[in-house]
Symmetry: C2
Subunit: 315 residues, 2 copies
Amino acid sequence: MSTIHVVLHPKRPPGVEHFLRGIPDIVLHCPDDDAGVTRALEEGASVLVTYVWQDAFLVPSLRWIAGAGAGIEQYPLDRLRAHQVVLTTAAGVHAECVAEHAFALLLALTRRIGESVRNMTRRQWIELPGEELAGKKLGIVGLGRIGEAVARRAQNWGVSLVGVKRHPDRYQGCLTDVRGVEQLLPVCEWADIVLLTAPALPDRSALIGARELELLGAGWIVNVGRGSLIDENALIRALTSGNLRGAGLDVTATEPLAAESPLWNLPNVVLSAHNAGDSPGFGPRWGAIFSANLAAFSGRGDWCNRVVQPPGVVP
Amino acid sequence: MSTIHVVLHPKRPPGVEHFLRGIPDIVLHCPDDDAGVTRALEEGASVLVTYVWQDAFLVPSLRWIAGAGAGIEQYPLDRLRAHQVVLTTAAGVHAECVAEHAFALLLALTRRIGESVRNMTRRQWIELPGEELAGKKLGIVGLGRIGEAVARRAQNWGVSLVGVKRHPDRYQGCLTDVRGVEQLLPVCEWADIVLLTAPALPDRSALIGARELELLGAGWIVNVGRGSLIDENALIRALTSGNLRGAGLDVTATEPLAAESPLWNLPNVVLSAHNAGDSPGFGPRWGAIFSANLAAFSGRGDWCNRVVQPPGVVP
């Protein structure tokens, strides 16, 4: 086959570059910034590996965006379709890891690990009575592969579980109680913990605002989905002057989180820097999807995780 | 029945005092320090609620020590027996909570929550690629109620599990591979994670020393058992100049941990202050045991969690 030029965006998860460097059939370009990515594409590259999107990347030679992330909210899907550009994602690659990270954030809240680490920095041995998940009610909002991986892990923890999903009728998993999004308010009222694993809404509006947080009351919220899912001002109010007991956030409304945000310094907040999916397992698992799709791109085999396909192509 | 005078040691888990104040049949004494405890006992109290022991507490009127903790290493068991003092413990009361805390510490290591919180104190958004438990090998050392609660929670996490127990032939639980203590070295060599839930050895010697840590290699260790189980100097060496990737410790060799200990400041250590078992569930669960034993003490019903019984009493 003819040589395939692949441009790798400078922002990428660990393991992706290592994997791509091991593929003999491609020429890999690794520019240092967005302008370099555009230049490399303008020189005729047909494949872009990225989770960052700039409209300048949409050059005539671009045929396939191999997404390095699970989300698609950053891409102009209609324009990609019009330009006959295929978009694939890394959906599912992160699922097990993100589910573990969601538990890490949740248990850091209930067992007060964040406060314990702050005490470590002051060399202070202070007993911090925590809480138990056993007996609590957990609402999982979003039941894609990550939400299901959370639900599976929670099976033996003595926790009552309810899921929220756009199409509950299509659910096939381990939960016995799955509701539609229109039931979000009663689920917030029922739950001790709301755990968000959903993707961003198309218009990036918040699912969880002041009303939902008020109904959650003296509970905890964990977000490993997207920062836009929570009204961050309402969250800060609920954490500082409301009943909310804690928030574990891998994602924030803007990233990196602004230095002046009160979230950095609240003892009942545990933040990580959008790294819930980062693990040594990412590179090989992402690579398996990329390899399958590289074959499909070359006319052999089926696409995997294809979100956008050119018009007229049989799915 | 005659009025029972109960002395409550000033160090006690949350919820114990609240529970005792609600019992009509006892007179509760709450001194402020060890000397006050001794004085209250010398005035004729027959029951002591404590997890702290001083030999001065062994006065002639003492008949029953209602332990507020799970461990018994602090008590002079032979002398209690000789003085016909019953000792009961809170064993099992903490199990679910401590198991959750063990996961909180472990996930704080693999998902680098401790480092994330240290970054929070500097308002720094730094992506920290972590590790996954899925696919890892976990050795659980100690399979009492806490170890079993850990094993049960780990069932759906894609983790390989091996247990170590003094009497593997007596094991009845969810693990399929349980070894005797003589297999500790090969288990350390096999494992990615060693999680200690065992009680202190009678002579307070370490189970985990330099050799065990060397065999564990580039792994993680979590201790929710007793600080004496790990040779702390060997641990610090393995964390600073060896391969060990991290340690999650709710217990240390001396408590509180000395201000000059290097453990406070190691980024790959997460410490909590011996509070793994503290939760709002403790008081009511401990109270149920105390109530049963108060009845037994008054000649009605059977003892629960009795470790030491006077000689000649039919068990």
